[in-house]
Amino acid sequence: MIKKSLLTVSALLLAQVGQAVEFEASGYVGFEWREYLEQGQFNTDSVTQADRQYGVVLEPELVWSLAEGEHTIVFKPFARVDSADPQRTHGDIRELSWLTYGDDWELIAGISKVYWGVTESQHLVDIVNQTDFVESPDGEEKLGQPMVKLSLIRDWGTIDGFVLPGFRERTFSGEDGRFRPAFVIEEEDAQYEAGEEDAHVDYALRWSHTIEDYDVGLSWFNGTSRDPLLKYDPLMPMILSPYYAQINQFGVDVQATIDSWLWKFEAIYRSYNDSLIDEFDQLGQPIEDYSAATGGFEYTYYAPFDTSWDIGILTEYQYDSREDKRLVIAQNDVFMGSRIAFNDAASSEILFGFTQDLDSSGTQSVFMELSTRLGSAVKFNIDVFLPMSTDSSNISSQFKQDDYIQLGFNYYY
């Protein structure tokens, strides 16, 4: 439906404006080789979790711009082919949207992506787009979301109003893949609290403003939770069904930028309908309204030791009011890391760090991301992720054998 109306709109625009349309194509083609250091935790007689994954990724971006950029249409499809996990072989429309604007307003209609928030170790406030979990276990990749977004840009801040028709289900690894729980999550069996299921229309509102050294955001979301609850049916014990509840969520994010310090804070309060809380109680999987927060700093040393490097030190604390460790990865955890930008012609950069669960001394993870440019058009990445957990009751323990090293080459055009 949205695609159709978008095409109609574009056709109308083309007809009306009758001016030169500027077209530009860009994007990248990527190749990845990922090697797991341990064998799958959930191997059985019939299922072997991949020890090695090759991937080919395509993400072209086509942009049509009319009337000197007053109208822009963007089409950005995405596809991955994975050698081992059919569920990870997937495609998405990251963007198919029309943008127009005036002096103090902006309108986006179609499939698009927005980002809210300031912290690095997790993104609590950022709720509009669903996580493409099968694409990246760190939750940094997002699926395209149908939306109409109107922004009003005023002296007292920017108001973004969202109508979000249509819901995207979270993607999960298949049984041959990694980063999955012991039970297979059946994406096809997704259940919804709302009768309209994935056609439920969600709403969101955000105010953001810069006040001197502070960048502040307040947000509200009402609709289908992007984070599924996992429903366990005693009749089908080997299967978990994603259950998408209706939620109301308030968020706040603040960054203070003071000299070489960036102080960052994000917090949310999420509530469910009482009827749902009762229902899940009866299934023995209690859910509750909760609050969560992430706060910390990033301090950067510029040009230390006679180099031209920037060395950043990051520390963030993650809090969640739910105490049930089975439900939450980041309930009382500390993240520490460092980001080094070498400021060379190849734009080499390294980011590394670790997260320690303060409630479980045996639960931590270590990661490293290195990137540099080869020639003028190829970006080379090395990614290392080492999740660890000796505590089987901790949710992180399901990924404890999914340690990997990955080499990636992306060719940009």
Partner: protein, 271 residues
């Protein structure tokens, strides 16, 4: 110069003199102390550059290492003149291709540190960044951020040193000492031509007071009959033997940009 233009020019000069606006004819640094002379030259340089309102340009940067290997950066820049404060700027990167669409918003200030935001198109994320990093390399080039920021009187203390010729052009040689403790330089020696107060050459001295870089300006073009802009700037690092050539491919003034073209929303939709 033909007779007609000679007459026209002399009439114009006379009219200007009568109106008291011809800075060129009035400018004199006689009888001042070297510090006063340096300041007077800087003020004159700034005064001659007021009123440009806004500009849009396309710029190419070629980075060369000591082996002569090249790396290219292309960007588009929008600038807005702000009276009583530093200028506003929006830079959009086109190459390298992996940073295409990355955009940088800068509100420079005269009396406090600049406000800066970076837009990362892959994440759709706008990040407020620290502007403390004045001495850092811009896009891996030999230009530091502070070399590319707008010229403001408040950023330096000045001292007139001598009159010298650079490439056959009569110049004022002025020492500029940065007032910001975060500057990467202990001093800069700048040569400005006496006729138009345009930068011809700058020597940069690092924190150890040794010569670090030399910047030369060439291919000056006159815009709106008032504003001189170099179409080429060459920065040579004497210590690393690396160099960066910055060429302006297109430049336009008074394009009608407004304050509302410089905010986080325009940063996000910049293409």
């Amino acid at each position: 110069m033909n007779t007609f233009t000679k007459i026209a020019s002399s009439i114009a000069t006379t009219v200007a003199l009568l109106a008291g606006v011809s800075a060129q004819a009035e400018f004199s640094i006689a009888g001042l102390s070297p510090a006063e002379q340096g300041l007077a030259i800087a003020k004159e340089r700034k005064a001659r550059d007021l009123g440009w309102e806004d500009s849009v340009s396309t710029v190419t940067m070629t980075l060369r290492n000591s082996q002569g290997e090249e790396s290219l950066r292309e960007m588009r820049m929008k600038s807005l003149e702000v009276s009583d404060d530093g200028d506003k700027g929006l830079t959009i990167f086109d190459t390298p291709k992996d940073v295409k669409g990355t955009a940088f918003l800068n509100f420079s200030h005269v009396d406090k540190s600049d406000d800066q935001w970076l837009y990362l198109p892959a994440l759709k994320r706008v990040k407020r960044i620290s502007s403390r990093n004045k001495s850092g390399p811009f896009m891996g080039s030999e230009f530091a951020y502070e070399d590319l920021s707008s010229f403001e009187i408040e950023k330096y203390t000045f001292k007139f040193l001598a009159e010298e010729k650079i490439n056959g052009i009569d110049c004022y040689k002025v020492e500029q000492i940065p007032t910001d403790k975060n500057s990467g330089y202990t001093s800069q020696i700048a040569w400005l031509d006496k006729e138009h107060f345009r930068g011809q050459k700058v020597d940069f001295y690092d924190r150890k007071k040794s010569l670090l870089k030399t910047l030369t300006f060439s291919d000056y073009k006159l815009y709106l009959n008032k504003y001189w802009r170099p179409m080429q700037m060459d920065m040579i690092n004497h210590q690393t033997k690396k160099s960066t050539e910055l060429k302006t491919a297109t430049l336009e003034f008074k394009t009608g940009l407004k304050d509302s073209d410089f905010n986080k929303a325009t940063l996000k939709r910049a293409r």
